[in-house]
């Protein structure tokens, strides 16, 4: 057979494309259920990590134990959804859909103390950043933090997703010392070694200035959206 003729080439290409399309579509749709489950489980793992609960074996059980409700509020601190049926309300909101009118808030209980976990979204050097922050029930102190990234430079910006960096946030204050109005979030990340105010500034990453800047904006702006809730619920 002449494999160089036009008709052969066209038919060959068409058949190949159809086979490949069916194959990929079949694999993708048959694995979709398992993949979605994995994504959900991973999100729960991240929320738990923000509460300093890491390396748990049964994520599902631990999450159900710790998280009491996944509310949805807006920037005025009005409750839009109560989130009593877990996984239905706040959990369903994808991070990319965060907006002033659509703010998930996880009410959790760790060792008998109430903690609030808030999601946040930002931009790093190469791609998106996201994270969760757990705030104590005084609504002023950070309990824990978790961040991750799409594609920050390995070894430079990527440690944002690692425990040592995330632990630097523990016990930091959201508001500046002496600020009693609580209208502006002061918590931020500064260039490595330039921390001036221990209570609200977190040491950045060496050699990753832009990732650090992006993460700082994410933390400050992310918490800022919840500021009315914090003020209303402060103890």
């Amino acid at each position: 057979m002449n494999t160089n003729s036009n008709s052969y080439t066209v038919i060959y290409a068409s058949i190949m494309v159809v086979i490949v399309a069916f194959l990929l579509a079949f694999v993708s749709s048959s694995l979709k259920g398992i993949q979605d489950k994995n994504v959900e489980l991973d999100k729960k793992k991240q929320i738990l990590a923000a509460l300093n609960i890491r390396n748990v074996d049964d994520v599902e059980a631990e999450y159900n134990k710790v998280v009491k409700a996944d509310m949805v509020i807006n920037a005025n601190a009005d409750t839009l959804k109560l989130g009593e049926n877990k996984d239905q309300d706040g959990f369903k909101v994808e991070n990319k859909d965060l907006s002033a009118e659509n703010l998930p808030l996880y009410v959790c209980e760790v060792n008998g103390e109430v903690k609030y976990v808030v999601p946040m979204l930002g931009r790093g050097l190469w791609g998106g950043l996201w994270g969760y922050m757990a705030v104590n029930d005084d609504c002023k102190t950070i309990f824990g933090a978790y961040f991750s990234h799409e594609s920050e430079t390995a070894g430079l910006g990527s440690p944002i997703a690692e425990q040592p960096f995330q632990e630097r946030f523990q016990n930091k204050q959201i508001f500046a010392e002496g600020d009693s109005t609580h209208t502006q979030v002061a918590l931020t990340i500064v260039k490595k070694g330039q921390v001036k105010s221990e209570s609200t500034e977190v040491d950045g990453l060496t050699g990753a200035t832009l990732t650090t800047k992006g993460a700082a904006a994410m933390v400050t702006d992310g918490l800022q959206q919840y500021i009315n809730f914090f003020n209303a619920n402060a103890k």
Binding site: T3, M16, T153
Partner: protein
């Protein structure tokens, strides 16, 4: 059996590891060798993934080689590679989610790895499936060992760790009163280029001397 491991087949497997190394001699796959070698672990995983995909893509193309129309052969090769990579990434997402998150962009990068297209075009289009399989595994491993060597040096001197474990004692560091500082240059891709250059230099010098004997 003896035919399966004939001299030619052995050469198809062994040459890419040394004399005809894809990175140091054919200078293919340099881009990913610079991108993923800041740490050892992604370097190892990338090396293995490329080995598996080169081997299977080689076999598939070799089986199809007599039917492929000459004018669209590159497109056919690309479709096979892209399909394989997409399948691997889907399967990883379903059954090894943590690994797929860690690899994120690297999986997609495999499609653009020039070694794949290079081997398909230069070897699998002319040879049988078994030879092509050996050639794919050999080329993949030849690429992998360079990546691992570069990743080893970069992670050790750039971060003081290997596979995430601390190797350089904490007390050596200047911040703890010692004398040692990590070499920040090592974490930059430029340093990978220099390291690959050094490996090519050593490799050539060694092989030239052997050839003259």
């Amino acid at each position: 059996m003896s035919k399966l491991f004939s001299k030619e087949n052995k050469a198809a497997f062994m040459n890419p590891l040394n004399l005809d190394n894809p990175v140091t001699v054919q200078v293919l796959g340099i881009c990913s060798a610079l991108a993923v070698t800041a740490q050892l672990e992604p370097a190892i995983v990338m090396g293995l993934s490329v080995t598996v995909i080169t081997a299977f893509a080689n076999v598939i193309i070799s089986l199809m080689r007599k039917t492929i129309p000459n004018r669209i052969r590159i497109i056919v090769q690309l479709v096979v590679v892209a399909t394989l990579v997409t399948l691997v990434s889907q399967v990883l997402k379903a059954f090894a989610y943590d690994v797929s998150v860690q690899l994120s962009v690297y999986i997609g990068l495999i499609i653009t790895n020039c070694i794949l297209m290079g081997r398909l075009e230069a070897f699998a289009m002319q040879n049988g499936p078994w030879e092509s399989f050996l050639d794919g595994v050999g080329s993949g491993l030849g690429y992998a060992w360079i990546l691992v060597a570069v990743g080893f040096v970069r992670e050790l001197f750039g971060a003081g760790t290997l596979l995430g474990f601390n190797i350089i004692p904490a007390s050596w560091y200047a911040e703890n009163g010692g004398w040692y500082v990590n070499n920040g240059m090592m974490t930059m891709p430029a340093m990978a280029m220099i390291l690959v250059g050094c490996i090519i230099w050593a490799h050539r010098a060694y092989n030239d001397r052997n050839a003259k004997k």
